[in-house]
Symmetry: C2
Subunit: 152 residues, 2 copies
DNA sequence: AGGTTCGCATAGCCCAACTATATAGCCGTG
DNA sequence: CACGGCTATATAGTTGGGCTATGCGAACCT
């Protein structure tokens, strides 16, 4: 299979899975909330602008998101001691708890669709997640401009 | 790994991939357009309401989408001979061409991220797509109420 | 010290998604 | 065969995430 067809199929099935996930929970929260919390959980505290680049949204969008998350107590905005303009954004334990709860709810809602996976299929999906994650993180590197990649 | 964690990771990485895809092309079209065309291409012509259920959007949302697609000549609205209220929605060759062009553009934009996949990784991703597709289609069955599943 | 660049905030827009409701055609029943 | 109820799509109006353009203050660099 050509790589370009694979990418097309991947993104298409992705969009359908996204809709299924959105429809499966009557949850009021948006993907943006969980995406942001996941990024912070996986990559640690970072500045607002960097968070925007890694999340692939514009800086104003991230400003709104972080404010909304801060109002709910799900993230903390820590003044950057080195730069009075900047903030470090960090998860709050309540945010991580909310994220975990959402994952549980989602898994429960999608269980009827996926609970007949056998071990081999689970392994394939887990590997696919790892592959995608590695490529996404590499694609994030240019966005995390703080530490320039040490060219070997 | 617990299935619920797997599902959470899958959806999370999904959301990040969606953002990457959205940011990668300066494309003006929305995911909804390509999702709808993909469904019609894969499953064939169907009524508007059924298309809405399979696409996991509300019927009014699909009405707007189909009108927009019809205006661009990307789908055809065929009066249902059996029911004057209903339409059969079908892809137009121009819609399929647009879909193919988008897939090419997307693949080109994401190539830098994915062109170092080796054969084993490509195979894993292709299998993952198949697994997800099969489960999504099974989840669609209740939505395609027209032909009741022939219980063996 | 002054101009430029950088980091975040604000303003205003667009569009996809939703709910609620309207319109119109089918269908069964007395 | 008229009428009530259901079904299929359309319309109205709202919400909310995303964007671009721009403002404002802090940092940086001559």
């Amino acid at each position: 299979m050509r790589t370009s067809d694979l990418i097309g199929d991947l993104v298409s099935v992705n969009h359908r899975l996204t809709r299924l996930a959105a429809a499966a929970t009557d949850n009021a929260e948006s993907p943006a909330v969980w995406r942001t919390l996941s990024v912070l959980r996986d990559l640690g505290p970072m500045r607002l602008g960097e968070l925007a680049r890694v999340s692939r949204v514009s800086q104003p969008t991230m400003t709104k998101l972080v404010h909304a998350l801060g109002d709910r107590g799900w993230v903390r905005r820590i003044p950057d001691a080195d730069d009075a303009r900047a903030w470090l954004i960090s998860t709050d334990p309540r945010g991580l708890a909310a994220l975990a709860a959402w994952r549980e709810e989602l898994a429960g809602a999608l269980a009827p669709t996926f609970d007949d996976l056998d071990d081999a299929e689970r392994a394939v999906l887990a590997q696919a997640v790892d592959i995608l994650r590695s490529r996404l993180e590499r694609a994030d590197q240019p966005a995390r401009a703080t530490q320039p990649a040490a060219s070997a």
